[in-house]
Symmetry: C2
Subunit: 224 residues, 2 copies
Amino acid sequence: MIQTEILCQSPIFRGISPDDLRELFSRILYQVKTYQKNELITIGGEICDRLLIIQQGSVKAEMTDYSGKVIKIEDLAAPWPLATAFLFGKENRFPVTVSATSEVEMVSIPKPEFVKLLQMNSLILNNYLNTISSRAQFLSQKLKFLSFKTIRQKIAHFLLEKAGDRLQTVEIMQTQGQLAEMFGVTRPSLARALSEMSQEGLIKIDRRSIKIQDKNRMNQLLKN
Amino acid sequence: MIQTEILCQSPIFRGISPDDLRELFSRILYQVKTYQKNELITIGGEICDRLLIIQQGSVKAEMTDYSGKVIKIEDLAAPWPLATAFLFGKENRFPVTVSATSEVEMVSIPKPEFVKLLQMNSLILNNYLNTISSRAQFLSQKLKFLSFKTIRQKIAHFLLEKAGDRLQTVEIMQTQGQLAEMFGVTRPSLARALSEMSQEGLIKIDRRSIKIQDKNRMNQLLKN
DNA sequence: TTTTGTTTGTAACATTTGATACAAAAATAC
DNA sequence: GTATTTTTGTATCAAATGTTACAAACAAAA
């Protein structure tokens, strides 16, 4: 049985009343499946031709590496949808193996039926488009960040982004350790780069606030 | 005037007959705007609340860096859509400044009207979902590749991916130089890493074919 | 205040990679 | 077959970053 009070909390059905959602579901085909703890739900590599939404319980996603060993990727709980990014596009396969970590109820909507839902209700359509677009935008940002090779470049990008057109001084909310992790470098390396940039007059560091002293030279760092 | 013979070549309208497309357009609001050479079409940072499709001519996309200098990003021509990844999601702003490089006709569909199109025609809906999903999948792959830090890791990932479960020997189609560029490293560095891995018995290199001799140790390289 | 734990600055050394150069090997052209 | 170009293997040195370690500064708790 579907529980629309839970499902309407899901990112895809957000903003829809439980009653409306029940009405919508009555017009499509779907299944509600129950899985016991530790039971397999999807296998990595399997074709992804249906949308799965956790209605009750929690699952874990794992990936198999090339030698066959298993790495845990993430934990998900109701009312989250699974693999929204793999229903469409060229790579229609589950990237991960999903199994139940408690007793689980899973709503399974075949792709053609989900397309009907998208066409019947513009809120669902917008929610879904927003979900996958935001993901693409997030990945794109992350990729841009990774494209800067040296630590100085990463620092410059981070500071200029935070400062925008106007500000000269940026207040950092994270510790150096957290920043270093974001940048994918070690903490002492980040500290060294910061102190060198400070010595060279590019920035001025006072605790957690950093003043950009030479915007032009900072920009030149990003040229390559 | 819209030219549906051209527009139906666009990734978003692919598979739809010119006549059907004309009928669909008759049911929504849209504009066809003409731009002279060098005229501005969108400005980076501007809100992206409409879908733009090049119907005639070509444009260039440029980005402004933090110091105000302009970097060319890409050239686009008819019948390509602009910024499909920024119509929805959290970041609804054009990332680039677009200007005409020849006389240009641009079809402009306001976002709510485009949503109508998506709901009226499931082919358009599928095309659009496939476009942005594929983009997210592509970015995700690229990100995964970049997450490997050492050259050895990149080599291991590349070879294990190519080999799959079965094969032991991988035939490389590119030159070392091309591979090095893909990996974002210099050619001598790649050659050195390969020869070291060969000395350590991980792989055996014979011209353009590389045999994976120790899959387990290769996998361990990817653990961190 | 004193104590304790966290954050920061910095140093010494090891490792990885880039830059450059050059010769051997292979592929291609003549 | 010879000449020319491309590709590959390798060496040397420099630059960037990681690793480890430790002390000073700071913040929170007792």
